[in-house]
């Protein structure tokens, strides 16, 4: 069974249309690659009520891993952690290890001349105030540590919204934790490119293969119509073991090839 995962992206700038949220896409690729399954992603505003509500609903759905992005910085509208603490009924407390991380970052930044001084102002201290029971995750790029929190059977991983910081924490501080969380899940896909620009002609083949192989996900994708336009058909599967997943994919692929041939649709490429 794949580990169910949700992403909650927080920040008014995403919904004003000021910033394109690229973090969700990046996380989806990584989580899928680890064998997990992302069921839902929600983009919300910097509203503590809504942050708490969306988080609790994801927990209530039995989601195994929840990633949040955004709202960890030094300003008052960075309120992910306080909203989370309120929703989970946990006090906020200054975390000594998180404070040490923040302090070390500002010492480094001040030495390099990037900030004027290394003093722990209230705004900088704010980034070390975590919900009780949280574990800080070292941020190799910026000042705000990531945060890991376990609530019942759910693991909540709270990451900054700046993509370089999110990716830095994910790759440098989370790898062993994620391996343990996602375990031995295996995901694979095959992509066929066909010399046919009309999705409605492919539909009978795609639908028949999907019905015959419910454990494989079959999707064709149209881009536009026209001469030279080719369609992509993606077969994907996940499971506990590599052999099982690859076997399923091979069987579905063979049937799809047979059916496309019967429709006189040439396959240009398989990868």
């Amino acid at each position: 069974m794949s580990v169910t995962t949700e992403i909650i992206a927080i920040g008014n700038e995403l919904l004003i249309g000021d910033v394109q949220d690229t973090n969700t896409h990046w996380l989806c690729q990584r989580i899928t690659g680890l064998g997990g399954i992302v069921l839902r992603a929600t983009l919300i505003r910097d509203d503590p009520q809504v942050i708490g509500e969306v988080l609790l609903q994801a927990i209530q759905r039995g989601t195994r891993v929840i990633f949040t992005t955004g709202g960890l910085g030094p300003t008052a509208d960075d309120l992910t952690l306080s909203a989370m603490a309120a929703a989970l009924g946990r006090p906020l407390e200054e975390h000594p290890e998180a404070l040490r991380m923040v302090q070390e970052t500002y010492v480094r930044l001040a030495q390099a001349g990037y900030v004027a001084h290394a003093e722990l102002t209230p705004e900088r201290r704010k980034m070390a105030i975590l919900p009780a029971g949280a574990q800080p995750l070292y941020n190799p790029v910026g000042a705000a540590p990531g945060v890991l929190l376990r609530e019942g059977g759910t693991t909540i991983i709270t990451l900054p919204g700046v993509p370089a910081e999110l990716q830095g924490i994910f790759e440098q501080s989370l790898t062993p934790i994620l391996r343990e969380l996602y375990g031995q899940g295996y995901y694979a896909e095959r992509v066929l490119v066909v010399d046919c620009g009309d999705e409605s002609s492919l539909a009978p083949a795609v639908d028949a293969v999907q019905r015959a192989h419910p454990e494989v996900y079959v999707k064709s994708r149209a881009k536009a119509y026209g001469p030279g336009v080719r369609l992509k058909i993606t077969l994907s599967a996940r499971g506990d073991a590599r052999d099982e997943v690859e076997g399923r994919l091979s069987r579905a692929l063979k049937e799809l090839q047979r059916r496309l041939e019967a429709l006189h649709i040439p396959i240009v490429q398989i990868s």
Copy 2:
């Protein structure tokens, strides 16, 4: 009062990480520009149960306008309209005007040699089967019409996932409807660039202006630390009338300038 809006983006490919969802960002920009406010966007899989549930929750929150993207094509996994019909307790029926739109598109495509024939196969007919009471929206780019549906005080606008088709319907078929829906809403923003790479130094000014001007949204954004890194501070406001919104922004901007000056943080640019 700004017209509350939500976006529901549908498609496994978005959550597998195969495709970056750019439609949500594009819609957020347009809706904000029309004076609307996007409160939430949800990315979900091609799961009829989940599609129905997310749609009903948005309606129950009293959302005035809901956009959905994706799942309108000819294949069986394009199930947005059937999921919507089930959730709203409406039968699905072939819509004569939608069928005419689909037919005309395939005649045009066949004449241009882009598809082999113009015949209305079951897969093509599927795109004209809409929930009862729906209104089709002409698609100038592809075959699947968009769909408009009113449910109580909520207007649901269902668009294809292919960006060119979504944008084509939005700009060619929706403009008068959106003007009416979003009415006279007005949105404006000012962006300051400051010569300071340390968000924690700015935080006292940003937080004080936010507290003194709750009707203006103030956000600073850090990209990374380092010499030559500059921060952007965005002030934005919305309201019924242009003068009122511009007045609020000017007052908040003046106070922010004063406070940055007091902190010896140079303003490089105001736009």
